[in-house]
Amino acid sequence: MASTITLEVSRYSPETDVAPHFQTFEVPFRKDWVVLDALNYIKDKKDGSLTYRWSCRMGICGSCGMLVNGEPKLTCATFLADYAPTPVRVEPLRNFPVVRDLVIAMTDFMRKLQRVKPWLIRKEEKPLSEGEYLQTPGQLDVYKQFSMCINCMLCYAACPVYGLDPLFSGPAAIALAQRYNLDSRDQGAKDRFPFLSQHDAIWGCTFVGECTRVCPKHVDPAAAIQQYKLTAAVEWIKSVLLPWGGK
């Protein structure tokens, strides 16, 4: 087994560069190392100016999303051993503006996430004396998969529609909206409907399915979007057949 592996890392300095370029580093190859370990080694020993995001190093914070050989991945969960001996190319997430090196600007995603109102909406809150909102395991099962999202934005990097149309809400935002829509404690589905049932939200999705393939937490946002399309279509039929508004 080779003792080193080559990393081609995308570098971009907004003060001096017009476009990103690749810089090659030789990094020790350890069987248990992930790409994040290699990046940390580069920053510690080779080039301290290398800029990237990371935090928990265990696949739950969603900070370290990058493109590894063109594929959106969490670098803390991507083993060098899977790529050795070929070089590993590390780039910032696709479809986002690059701020510096491997760091992208995520303001757009944060704004879209806010607009789907990802919190429990109640018409009226129960008083404390009545205790908690109870939920059966069956009711939890309905939305649990969609609650696994760690906001890592790998799905946005994989989604071609988001790359082509910056106004598209994107997989994670809609999946999280569904997570709350399907929660038995939530009463805000009608509040989220106007934002979701429009061309820049669910109707822009063409079910490419890449978002589901790259999701590290198996959230299946594509399924969430298609299921919501069905809900929205049924709502539309109801609004056409009962224009005076049934509940």
Partner: protein, 121 residues
């Protein structure tokens, strides 16, 4: 950003037509294309002759079946082609033109199918 009311009313309908067309096309088209495009012309099996086919198509239930087969899948194709042109070729400035051409073509095809099957003798 809230949707325009007209958009709220059209997109769900187009998606419903797209889904229905997909179901019809998936279940019913392969076998018919296989038989009429490959099996009968290549002589792997003997197809119905002219008189039998004409009598068959004239039956009202067959006319209805053929109408469904030749109308709704057109909307499925129109919807997919429209989005592929919109995304694939990035010609967003022609968005309205593409939509009108695609769905208009599907409507035209439906009318042709309806006319042909209604006036068949």
């Amino acid at each position: 950003m809230e949707a325009k009311p007209s958009q709220l009313r059209l997109e769900p309908l187009l998606w419903i037509l797209f889904s229905a067309g997909g179901v019809v096309a998936a279940f019913l088209i392969p076998v018919q294309l296989f038989l009429q495009g490959l099996v009968f012309p290549l002589g792997w099996a003997k197809g119905p002759d002219y008189a039998t086919t004409a009598a068959f198509v004239a039956h009202p239930l067959v006319r209805l079946y053929l109408f469904v087969l030749c109308s709704i899948p057109l909307f499925h194709a129109a919807h997919r082609i429209r989005y592929t042109l919109y995304d694939g070729l990035q010609i967003k400035h022609l968005n309205e033109v593409i939509a009108v051409c695609c769905y208009g073509g599907a409507v035209f095809g439906t009318l042709v199918a309806g006319y042909l099957l209604w006036s068949f003798h």
